[in-house]
């Protein structure tokens, strides 16, 4: 089975649900172009009212951090514990804060 046809490009699909949360990655699909990707995403990823808005983007256009960068990207956050509210002791008498 050989076909000269090139594969349709891969799109990543993001869907915003009904409850006000941000678009969320749900999966991917192949389509000839973005319009078709949105139509197919409707069929593949929202058959049960999962969303009210669809974004599609060519998978090849996504830039991603790599696992090796984990240290340099996320470790600096570890020594900044004062960014968390629990770092500060507030006396009980002050009330809710």
């Amino acid at each position: 089975m050989t076909h000269p046809t090139k594969e349709w490009p891969l799109f990543e699909v993001f869907i915003r649900g009904q409850h006000g949360l941000s678009h969320r990655h749900v999966g991917s699909l192949h389509a000839a172009n973005a319009e078709m990707a949105i139509k197919s995403a409707r069929d593949v990823y929202t058959r049960r009212n999962e969303g009210v808005s669809i974004w599609v983007v060519l998978a090849s256009d996504i830039a991603a951090s790599s696992p090796e960068e984990k240290g340099s990207l996320y470790e600096p956050a570890n020594d900044k514990v004062y960014r968390h509210p629990t770092f500060f002791d507030i006396p009980d008498e002050v009330g809710a804060m």
């Binding site: 089975m1 050989t2 076909h3 046809t5 090139k6 594969e7 349709w8 891969l10 749900v26 999966g27 991917s28 699909l29 192949h30 000839a32 172009n33 078709m36 069929d43 593949v44 990823y45 058959r47 049960r48 991603a64 790599s66 696992p67």
Partner: protein, 330 residues
Amino acid sequence: MYAQMIKSTGEGVKSLDEMDPQERAFQERINAGGKIEPKDWMPDGYRKNLIRQIGQHAHSEIVGQLPEGNWITRAPTLERKAILLAKVQDEAGHGLYLYCAAETLGVTRDQLTRDLLSGKMKYSSIFNYPTLTWADMGAVGWLVDGAAIMNQVPLQRTSYGPYARAMVRICKEESFHQRQGYDIMMKMAQGTDAQRKMAQDALNRFWGPALMMFGPSDENSVHSAQSMAWKIKMNSNDELRQKFVDECVPQAEYLGLTVPDPDLKWNEERGHYDFTQPDWDEFFDVLKGNGPCNTERLAARNKAWDDGAWVRDGLMAHAAKKRAAKLAAE
């Protein structure tokens, strides 16, 4: 299961001490319940096994549309027809979620399709049996989707992130499938004598093949041991088969139907039903391509692919033309 006979490349499970630091870190992450993501380092065998397993699972969802698609035009009511159509459409979705997951491992969709169409990659043996009457739509939903659920629910915790996420989506949709099947069985079993007979006949024909879906016993298989260490297989085949039988027997009793196994009986000591193994010679024969519908199923997939070629090419050409026009206008 939907991936019944996955041969791993490994020789046996390595202990942590036998692994190099990279592999050891990988295995420790899995042991701790962590997820492996597409860009993470992974052993070659893990990648290869997963491509085979997810690919086989995806192919099963796609080929699995055929036996049920057979009845869409002949469903007894408009409502049943709409339900069956929705169910079969879900299966197409399941295939797509799984192909996406496989693609994150570096195999292309076209490659997977080619390997299905050439017969190089397998799909579940269950879909090589014919669906002869409307009651088969009941038996398939109840037993085949029921068996699939047994296997898919634990796979939601599998170590490979994209596979686990695909399983979560699939499991959300599967219980509709099983229930609509059981609903058909209830209707038939409470119907006329002829309908009851059809329901019993469907159960008789699908019981053995449904038990085969879990694959042969793998308690002593090194392949399975490796897959379990990697958490791409969560339970042994026998364990899931037993669970399936234990669940199905009372459901069959409720229907007033008889499970076609004279030796089936409750074992108080084990707390499980004792049952007869399905015909494993038949199973291997079906896997080899000699089931009642192997030829028909592959021919249908090949025809769909070939007949769709002009659509795929046409839409690509159209998209290229539109892109060029847009560029020219800018």
